[in-house]
């Protein structure tokens, strides 16, 4: 793995919203995808620059129809079609596989929570403990897959905890389900990632991942 995971203690304040300092499996898979794509992109970019530079360092090639036909074979069929299609097909297939792995599929041990965005706050509720509601703080168990059911009561928002998973929109009238998981107990920063007007910048929240004991305690707590 190229990016690796950063233990919580090393992930200082500066990385609290970083997608490339993953703290859970979904963010980790995507971070790996990014580093591999960066390497591939850098290689392709270098290839193009070298080909461009060489064009200036050569003598004029042969002219005539046969020479042009050969050039079309090399440049257009070879590089333009063959090369780009191979790279892209491989990448697309991989992206599809990864996307499938990130989907909220049914399984044992899954915890469901509900997130409701509004201008400019988040309200979280817990079907495991009906009536329990928290504002701007989402409690989850660490080390277990969590499905967040996301919706909005006013305009469109987006639920994003970069160190745990990608973002998913909160749309009035719709419920979207995001699968995330935190490897370790701790606090993870979340923000809304869809522009929502004057209070957009500070439309954030915190995810607190508990160890098993603390999660049970949270659920068992008296209703506030």
């Amino acid at each position: 793995m190229v990016g690796g995971s950063t233990p919580l203690v090393l992930a200082g304040c500066e990385e609290r919203l970083s997608a490339v300092h993953p703290a859970g499996p979904a963010a980790d898979i995507i971070a790996t995808l990014w580093w591999v794509m960066l390497g591939g992109a850098a290689a392709i970019f270098l290839l193009v620059v070298v080909l461009l530079a060489l064009a200036f360092r050569r003598d004029e090639g042969p002219s005539g129809e046969t020479a042009d036909k050969r050039r079309e074979t090399v440049w257009i069929k070879g590089l333009g079609l063959g090369f780009t299609m191979t790279v892209l097909a491989a990448l697309t297939a991989w992206g599809l596989l990864i996307g499938e792995r990130l989907l909220p599929r049914p399984g044992p041990d899954i915890v469901t929570v509900e997130a409701e965005g509004r201008q400019w706050a988040w309200r979280f509720s817990y079907p495991d403990q009906p009536g329990r509601v928290t504002e701007d703080v989402l409690h989850i168990p660490a080390g277990r897959p969590v499905d967040v059911r996301i919706t909005s009561t006013d305009v469109i928002h987006s639920f994003w905890v970069p160190r745990l998973a990608g973002k998913l929109d909160a749309i009035p009238g719709h419920v979207n389900v995001l699968r995330l998981e935190a490897w370790e107990p701790g606090e993870y920063a979340g923000v809304s990632a869809e522009f929502s007007g004057a209070g957009y910048r500070s439309h954030g929240f915190t995810v607190i991942a508990h160890d098993a004991a603390a999660w049970d305690a949270f659920l068992a707590e008296e209703l506030p």
Partner: protein, 832 residues
């Protein structure tokens, strides 16, 4: 050249000049219909908008330079970034390539003007007036502030109650008139107005690109125009298209917007690719490698670009297999892009590249655009996009693509065509300095912003948080941003100084092979003194004497004996002479009509609907005046076109230019109608709170009226058309057709009676469908009345029946859409 030959060219110029010139003085600015003049004004206007958008960019970078900047609050900042995006996309990028096309295309094709000169003028003035309104709104502090893609419900009246959003929706729709108008013109010009012998496989490659772009504009803009219309209807009359609790869906807007928004990116890129395909081979002293491949790549790019709008919506919760399809198309679109990139590099290898200033900018394009393309493939990967979406990674990506892939090639083009545009060669050499400032400034600004995005910096936040890890990146970006701005400023200064004070240059300094270099520079108002005959893609390489031969009148339509503006229309595929097109004189009607149209669009902002209806009536009257001016009251028969060829005038062909223009306008209209039906189906299947509480029952009256209308309208116009051609009495047929159109309108009106416009998104959609049917029936009816007046005053004869064919086209369209629209509206009511 001998003295005698020079004399001939001069005499021909003296004969053509008084016919084609603009009115003198300031009046000429308002009445001109000349593509060179309008192109010049258009380029200046779009450059002005680039400066305005650039100033806003500098304000953004000033705000983000330091954490917790108190430079401006979110209320102002939101207007600034919304207007930066809006101006750069709608008021700079699209108009600038349209301007360049208006200017260059007739010269490249070897013809005298664009197909519809008055439409050039109307489009330009709509653009200038609309842009001015947007800038005034910005200065007055009532500019739109919901982001340039205006997502409801944030842009709905509940969350944006001011007039800001109305100004955006109506102002941008108004400005799009110029894009649609220019697109219709470009398509008809490329297809019908060319040098003789310029078959489609000999088109200058830029013309191919612009043909593709113009068709894309006609098919991509209508969804957004429809979206703007129904969002405005929701804001003004509470018709709940986007309100979930009443069966609307905010996602419908996103679909309509991105159905426009993604092709839009290629609409912007393809003209730039066209410029590169023209300039790069000349800079490498060779010809373009793989012309056919490049044309195929442009066409497939256009087709694919309509299949990937959903990649802007990967985070909206669409099922993953749906996303996978759009992800695959999004990466597939990189293939034709790759084909073009490698065709260009292959062209450089084939030739002997020389490092002139346009070449420098093209190299800047390669380096920047390839990086932008690669990050584009990254965000096409659905999982990665879940992280990168709406972050500064995307901001950086889109600036790499748009500045690297559009602005740099356009600058290359401006320097390359400067002799054609201004008649001068570059003398002051600030250009190289400016280039390096732009390069350093650009990458300094945007390269590390990718990283800031991955570190969690969201787009559209109004300040940078201290301790976020993004501060130093943003400070660097702000400093580099100002270097970039100085660089662009220097480019504009360099071009301006060279345009006004540099020495006159020689004709065709680059030794290019295409026809825009065949005219004296700067080009005369009639562009070519005679329409040349060509036999390859690079006529000036085959025949270096061609410019002289054109000037001496050795082509078609040289001597203007009939003392009017004439040019040659050719057959679509082979470029053989078909008829003589008579162009309109200078006129103020397009300018006045643009002013009145602006009133029609702006009155609803202030809810002055009475004024809107007065202005709409004014536009109708002006349109009739416009159409009336075109035609003849006598049969002319075959006319001498030069070179021993006789051709009819356009008034005596079955399908005159106006028919072709109508055809492509109706293409755009049909896409709008299709988007409306798409919206209806989308709401029915996806939106929450469906089915609606009450479904319309068609009853008997409506369907009977509709069937009678369809039969009468379409058979009536055909009877009338035949009567005209046989010198019979067309009255009965035309009146029957008029009655049929009235019946269609009445059938649609029964839909109003059976529904309540603001009860549910279903009702609201049906009202728009019925309104669409009534509007088109009314429009076609007006045309029938117009045709009756033309017949009464002698403009129509057995030879001159082109007007009837135009009316027939519009009636057929009205009938077809009425049948489809009313059928869709009634169908749910009859299903069990």
């Amino acid at each position: 050249m001998t003295e005698k030959k020079r004399m001939t060219a001069l005499r021909l110029h003296k004969a053509l000049y008084p016919i084609w010139r603009n009115d003198p003085g300031w009046k000429g600015v308002l009445t001109t219909v000349n593509n060179n003049t309008i192109g010049n004004m258009f380029i200046l206007g779009a450059t002005g908008m680039f400066l305005a958008g650039g100033i806003l960019a500098m304000l953004i970078r000033a705000q983000l330079a330091s954490p917790r900047s108190a430079f401006m609050g979110p209320e102002i900042y939101n207007q600034i970034f919304t207007m930066h995006g809006t101006i750069m996309m709608f008021l700079f990028a699209i108009p600038f390539f349209e301007a360049l096309t208006v200017f260059l295309l007739p010269g490249m094709l070897g013809t005298r003007d664009l197909a519809f000169p008055r439409l050039s003028s109307y489009g330009f003035w709509c653009y200038m007036i609309g842009s001015t309104i947007m800038i005034v709104a910005l200065v007055a502090g009532v500019a739109p502030d919901g982001g340039w893609f205006m997502y409801p419900p944030l842009s709905s009246s509940a969350y944006s109650s001011g007039i800001n959003t109305d100004i955006w929706l109506l102002g941008i729709s108004f400005i799009e008139i110029s894009a649609i108008g220019a697109a219709v013109e470009v398509v008809v010009t490329v297809l019908r107005y060319r040098a003789v012998g310029m078959s489609l496989d000999k088109l200058p490659i830029f013309a191919w690109y612009m043909l593709v772009v113009a068709v894309m504009i006609l098919t991509a803009f209508p969804p957004m125009i429809l979206g703007s219309l129904i969002l405005e209807l929701e804001r003004a009359f509470d018709m709940p298209f986007f309100q979930a609790e009443h069966g609307g869906d905010s996602l419908l807007w996103q679909h309509l917007f991105w159905l426009f928004g993604h092709p839009e990116v290629y609409i912007i890129f393809l003209p730039a690719a066209g410029v590169i395909s023209m300039v790069l081979p000349v800079m490498a002293r060779t010809t373009l490698l793989g012309y056919g491949w490049v044309v195929a790549a442009a066409i497939s790019l256009a087709v694919l670009s309509f299949g990937l709008w959903v990649h802007h919506m990967f985070t909206t919760g669409i099922p993953h297999m749906g996303l996978a399809f759009f992800s695959a198309v999004s990466t597939l679109v990189a293939v034709p892009t790759g084909v073009q990139i490698f065709a260009w590099i292959g062209t450089l290898w084939k030739g002997r590249p020389e490092m002139h200033l346009p070449m420098l900018w093209i190299l800047g394009f390669f380096v920047t655009f390839v990086m932008g393309g690669l990050t584009g493939v990254m965000v096409a990967m659905v999982p990665f996009d879940w992280q990168a979406h709406d972050s500064y990674f995307v901001v950086a990506h889109l600036h790499y693509v748009l500045i690297g892939g559009y602005v740099f090639p356009m600058i290359a083009g401006i320097y390359y065509w400067m002799p054609v545009l201004t008649g001068r060669k570059r003398f002051f050499r600030m250009g190289e300095t400016a280039f390096w400032l732009v390069m350093v400034g650009f990458h300094g600004t945007f390269l590390l912003l990718h990283w800031a995005g991955l570190l969690g910096m969201r787009r559209r936040i109004d300040t940078v948080e201290a301790g976020s890890g993004w501060e130093s990146i943003n400070l660097l970006a702000s400093i580099s941003g100002f270097v970039l701005a100085i660089g662009f400023g220097l480019v504009i200064l360099d071009v301006a100084v060279n345009a006004f004070v540099a020495v006159r240059g020689p004709r065709n300094p680059w030794k290019a092979g295409t026809l825009e270099w065949a005219t004296p520079i700067p080009g005369p108002s009639y562009n070519v003194a005679s329409i040349p005959v060509i036999s390859s893609r690079y006529p000036l390489h085959d025949n270096p004497d061609l410019p002289v031969q054109i000037a001496r009148g050795e082509g078609f339509l040289a001597w203007p004996d009939r003392n009017r503006r004439e040019t040659l229309a050719v057959s679509i595929s082979r470029g053989e002479p078909e008829f003589i097109s008579v162009f309109p004189k200078n006129t103020i009607v397009p300018f006045v009509m643009a002013v009145v149209t602006s009133v029609m669009f702006m009155a609803p902002v202030f809810k002055w609907y009475w004024l809107m209806f007065i202005a709409a009536a004014g536009v109708t009257v002006l349109a009739l005046v416009w159409a009336w001016a075109n035609g003849s009251r006598r049969d002319e028969g075959l006319l001498d076109a030069g070179r021993g060829v006789s051709l009819p005038p356009h008034t005596e062909v079955a399908y005159k230019p106006g028919w072709w223009g109508s055809l492509f306008l109706l293409l755009a209209d049909s896409v709008l109608f299709g988007s409306l039906l798409f919206g209806y189906a989308f709401l029915w299947t996806v939106a929450p709170n469906w089915p609606p509480p009450r479904i319309l029952q068609p009853g008997i009256l409506g369907p009977v009226l509709a069937l009678a209308g369809v039969a009468l309208a379409s058979s009536g116009i055909r009877l009338g058309d035949r009567a005209i051609r046989e010198d019979g009495a067309p009255w009965r047929g035309l009146l029957a057709s008029l009655a049929g159109l009235a019946a269609l309108g009445a059938a649609a009106a029964t839909v109003f009676a059976g529904t309540t416009y603001n009860a549910h998104a279903y009702d609201a959609t049906l009202w728009v469908i019925a309104g669409y049917v009534i509007f088109h029936a009314g429009l076609a009816g007006l045309m029938v009345l117009f045709l009756l007046c033309r017949i009464g005053t002698g403009y129509v004869s057995a030879r001159r029946f082109g007007d009837a064919r135009v009316v027939r086209l519009w009636i057929d369209y009205a009938v077809l859409t009425a049948a489809l629209g009313l059928g869709a509206a009634w169908l749910p009511g009859v299903l069990p």
